[in-house]
């Protein structure tokens, strides 16, 4: 069992968390001018990095989303940060 740290609740078991998306994706706007390819890019395409990764996770227990920086091979977590506008 790995322990993840929620910026709001502190260290909790990994089963309380869900992976949401890779960090840094921005919803393309305005919607009516976005091409099919750009929508597909936003909705589906990923980097799936091996090694250092920045990801958005949600702590299912409190419902808050946050950014986790971790290594996808060693599983070491180096940083957890609340999303902009939220106080951790």
């Amino acid at each position: 069992m790995q322990i993840f740290t929620c910026p709001f609740c502190g260290p909790r078991e990994e089963t309380e968390f869900h992976f949401a998306a890779e960090a840094g994706k921005h919803r393309p706007e305005p919607a009516e001018e976005v091409s099919d390819a750009d929508w597909a890019d936003y909705l589906y395409l990923n980097d799936a990095p091996k090694g250092a990764a920045r990801e958005v996770w949600v702590h299912a227990t409190c419902g808050e989303f946050f950014v986790m920086t971790r290594d996808t091979v060693t599983r070491e977590i180096t940083d957890v940060t609340a999303l902009p506008g939220r106080d951790g």
Binding site: M1, E14, H18, F19, D41, N46, D47, K50, T72, V73
Partner: protein, 416 residues
Amino acid sequence: MTRYSAFSLLREGLRGHRGWQPAWRKARPKPAYDAIIIGGGGHGLATAYYLARNHGMTRVAVLERGWIGGGNTGRNTTAVRSNYFYPESVALYDLALRLYEGLSQELNYNVMLSQRGMLIAAHTPAQMEICARIANAMKLNGVDGELMGADEALQRIPLLNQTTDARYKCMGGIWQGRAGIARHDAVAWGYARGASDRGVDIIENCTVESLLIEGGRITGVDTSLGTIRADRVGVAAAGATPGIVAEAGVRLPIHTYALQAFVSEPVKPCLDTVLLYLGTGTYVSQSDKGEMVFGGGLDRVPTHGQKGNLPAQETVISGLLEMFPAFGQLKLLRQWAGVVDVVPDSSPVIGPVGPEGLFINCGWGTGGFKAIPAGGWLLAHLMATGQHHEISRPFDLDRFARGRLIDEAAGAGISH
């Protein structure tokens, strides 16, 4: 190549097995080939075999960073089946199953295909309705599928938990009689032997470091064993595929997760089908040696490390014990994990990507083993002709921009 037969086995048996030859050549890379395949798992080796067999291309190299069949090909639970929902998927997976049915003869290599049938078991009336829908879809798509009632299911799998306090009491499910298991290593080794015999170079311990691209065309690869030229490159590297094609500007709809599998100590025969239980998400079959081979859902943490986490183990094992309380006495021999490339619609991605001459066959997620012959057949067709086979066309990467997903996660009710 020595042909394997009952006679050759007898002859070698009489002279102390001193005459066997290695099944495939250990090759060193040449400076150039007509085609390079990155990834020496089942899909890559099958691609090489069918390039030579179906298309007469023998100046082909398979580059494997470790040893052949050491990735997901050697880490799965060996089930083969084609009980899918959509016509596109059935065409794909049943091509694989039909090729599996003739594979031992085709390769002169015993892949130990055992078509012992598979039950997808349901425990609620709602699930049984979904099962009926899938079984009907399978019939419409021309493959064998039938709705099985509780009585027959329990007759086939008498050890299933039938007590009054069973949490997921079996109501029946979908039966596919042609489904079964095959020896996973033998599939890799048989294809390697067949490809090597036709002139393909199989190069192990050779890591691809970068793709060579000139003027919008692929021209080769830089590897840990030097530069190798080819104007056609196929990538069949599962979870490593996104990292390989990234520098060609290609991004894929893939997340990589660990999928675990487990083997118990061997016991006397007591389970002669493959079972997937919708209620627990656990699947299990008994190997020829008597071991219970089982697995379940993904670890829920994206990873490239080939090791599993404890919560998923707990879920899978508790699922097995709910289905078969008697298995609580079994000791677990081994547990391992592979890195699987999961796509949002649970269907593979096959087709040309990025620069001209670059092709991929990936995104099989948790179900790549059953598809090996078809994956190889279709990637070979793409690499040889530059065109999609009609079966691979729906699985092109362009389906995500076209909105034409083949959503088997919802369609076939598979657990992931």
